[in-house]
Point group: C2
Chain length 343, copies 2
C-alpha cells in the first residue's frame, strides 16, 4: 500500500473567550503514513474512526502553566479526546488487527501506540454505531450513570432539575431520573432541543433563553436534586429553589468556561440554611466502582431503544474547530462527534 | 414569697446590617411574677440560669415573611435561644423541682412551660458550670462533634483549615482534628484569639485581619478539609487552596449575615475540577445519630481538661444587645453566655 494522508487537527493558540476555528486550532493535512510498513516497535497501529467533542475540552485550551484536573493541550500538537479506532496491525499480543479500542485518541487519522492498558477493547455485541461509544455508551453516558448512582439519593416522587438537558449527559440523566420515578424539569437553549427533551419524557421542558428559569422552578414547587452543567446564575436560581437536604450534582459549569469575568454566586449561605450537599466529581474517579456494570447494562438498553440518544456528526478532521465552537455555544443538535473514517 | 421582677429582653426592630443594642432589641424590667403562686396548669416553672448567644441568631432577626431554617424572632416578644434553667415547681411527673433542663429558652428570668419533651434533663455528674452546657457541652460543641464525625472523612496526616478558630465551634473542631492526627491551620480576628488557638494545639494560627489567608494556605501546601464559619472571600481562598477530593463543611457564613450586599463567590468551578464535596448542615439534623454518644463522652473530657473551652460571660439580661453585637463583630473573648441568675 502506498503512503496515505495522515491528517491531524492541531492546537495552535490559547483562546481568550470562545475558541476561534482556524486560529485556536488548525487542520494540517501535510503528513503521510504507510500503514503497511510504519514501524510498530512492539506496539500497534490504530486507525481513528470517531472522535468525541466535549465541553470540558475548553479547559484544556489553556496556558500549560495553569494547573487543572486535565492536562493542557500542547501548542503545535494534535488535540486529544475520547475516540474509537480499529487496530490495523499489532505486535503486542494484548490487541489484534480488527480489534476496536476506546480511549483517549490524538486528533489524527493514524497513530502507533504502545500501551494497550490505555484502551478498552469494545465487544459491541449490540452492533451499535461506533460513535455511540464516545457518547451515550462512552464518557458522557458514564458521567450521567456513575454520578446519578453515587450522589442523587433519588427517591420516587422527588423533583430533579437538569440543565443542558438535550446534551449527551443531561439527556441521559433525564431518562435515569424518569426510570427512578422522579418529576423531571429540564432546560436547553433552543426549541429543537426542548422538543427532544420532551421526547425523553421530561415532565417540564423549557428554553432558558426565552423562559425565566427562576420562575419555572418556583412555579413547579422547588427541587430536590439539581444536575448542574452550567453554573453561574442558574446555580443561584437552583439554590433559591432547593428544598431542605437537596443534592447538587456539580458536573460542569459551561457558563464559566468562556467567561473572561466569572459570575459570583451570592447566595451560598443557602447551602448551610437548606442543608444542601454539593458534589463535584470527575467521571474517572467513579469508574472503578461502576464501569463494568455500565458496559454490561447500557449498550443493550441503547440498542433496544429503552434509552434514547441523539447525535450531531461532523465528517472529517478539517471542521473540528467549528465542532468545538458549536459545543461551547450550544448550537450543536446532539452529541457532537467527528466521523474520521468509515471502516 | 412576694412577687419578684421577671426581666425580659425583647426583639424590637429588624436591623439593617449590624444589630443595634437598645434599638434592635430592648430590655424590659416592668413585669413581675410570684414563683410560689403562679398557676402551672399541669406544667412547670423554670428559672433561667444561663442563655447562649450564637452567631445564627442574626438570621432570626428578620422580617417574618422571609422563610428560613429557623423561625424568626417576633417583634415585642422575648428573644429565644439555648439555655439552662432549674425547675422551681412542677405539676408534670416528667420533671421535678431541682431538675436542670437544657433546651430553647425565652430571654426571660422565669417562665411556665408545659412540654417537658422540649428539654433534656442534665445530669451533670461532672459538676461543670451550667454555662458549659450551652457551649462546649451544648449546641456549639454538638455542631463541631456531629459534623466532624459525619462529614470530615479525616485521615491522619491531612490538613484542615478552620475559620473562627477561637469560637466555640471552631475551637472544638481544632481539638477534634488534632485528636485525629491532622495538621491544623486556624484563623481568628485578634491576637488574643490567636494565642488561644495556639494553646488548643493548632499547628498554624493567624490573625486574618493582619495576615493574608490566601498566602498562608498556599505556603502551608493547601488543604484537605475546610471548616467554613465565614463564607465569602475566605471560602474563595479555600477553594483555591483545596486539594483534589477536599471536603468543605459548611457550618456558617458570618461574613454574609450582616452584609447588605452579599459577596459573590467566583471560583465554584473548582468544586467540579477538584472533585470537592460541600456539606451544608444544621446541627439538629444529626442529633438523632450522635446526641447520646456526645453526652456520654464530652462532658467528662471537658471536666478533665482533655478538651479545652473558653467563655465570655455577660451578667444579667440588660446587656444582651451588646452581647449579640459582640458575637456578630467577633469582639467577644470566648463563647458568649448570659449569666441570668446564680442558683
Amino acid at each position: 500500500m502506498a503512503p496515505v494522508r495522515n491528517g491531524r487537527h492541531l492546537f495552535n493558540e490559547v483562546p481568550t473567550g470562545y475558541p476561534v476555528p482556524g486560529k485556536t486550532t488548525v487542520y494540517d493535512g501535510s503528513q503521510t503514513i504507510d500503514p503497511d510498513t510504519v514501524p510498530l516497535n512492539g506496539g500497534f497501529l490504530l486507525k481513528t474512526l470517531v472522535l468525541s467533542i466535549d465541553p470540558y475540552m475548553r479547559g484544556k485550551m489553556r496556558d500549560p502553566k495553569v494547573e487543572s484536573y486535565s492536562p493542557p493541550f500542547l501548542i503545535g500538537k494534535p488535540l486529544e479526546n475520547f475516540g474509537v479506532g480499529v487496530v490495523i496491525r499489532s505486535e503486542n499480543p494484548a490487541v489484534k488487527a480488527g480489534d476496536h479500542l476506546y480511549g483517549i485518541f490524538p486528533f489524527q487519522e493514524y497513530f502507533v501506540e504502545t500501551d494497550p492498558k490505555k484502551y478498552r477493547v469494545l465487544e459491541n455485541k449490540e452492533k451499535l454505531p461506533w460513535s455511540v461509544y464516545v457518547g451515550a455508551a462512552g464518557m458522557p453516558g458514564q458521567t450521567a450513570y456513575y454520578a446519578w448512582k453515587e450522589y442523587s439519593a433519588a427517591k420516587k416522587g422527588e423533583t430533579v432539575f437538569v440543565t443542558a438537558g438535550a446534551g449527551p449527559v443531561g439527556s441521559f440523566v433525564i431518562q435515569l431520573a424518569k426510570l427512578d420515578g422522579l418529576k423531571v424539569i429540564a432546560s436547553a437553549g433552543s426549541e429543537d432541543k426542548v422538543e427532544f427533551i420532551k421526547k425523553l419524557g421530561a415532565d417540564v421542558a423549557f428554553n432558558y433563553k426565552t423562559t425565566n428559569t427562576r420562575e419555572v422552578l418556583k412555579k413547579e414547587g422547588g427541587i430536590d436534586i439539581y444536575w448542574d452543567n452550567v453554573g453561574g446564575e442558574t446555580l443561584e436560581a437552583a439554590l433559591d429553589a432547593a428544598h431542605p437536604e437537596a443534592r447538587f450534582i456539580e458536573c460542569g459549569m459551561i457558563s464559566a468556561y468562556n467567561a473572561t469575568e466569572p459570575y459570583g454566586v451570592k447566595n451560598l449561605m443557602l447551602v448551610v440554611a437548606k442543608q444542601i450537599s454539593m458534589y463535584g466529581f470527575l467521571v474517572f474517579r467513579l469508574g472503578q466502582k461502576y464501569e463494568e456494570e455500565f458496559y454490561r447494562v447500557i449498550p443493550a438498553k441503547l440498542a433496544s431503544g429503552e434509552l434514547k440518544y441523539s447525535e450531531d456528526v461532523t465528517k472529517g478532521l478539517e471542521d473540528v474547530g467549528e465542532a468545538i465552537l458549536s459545543v461551547q455555544k450550544g448550537t450543536n443538535k446532539g452529541k457532537k462527534v467527528i466521523l474520521v473514517a468509515e471502516e
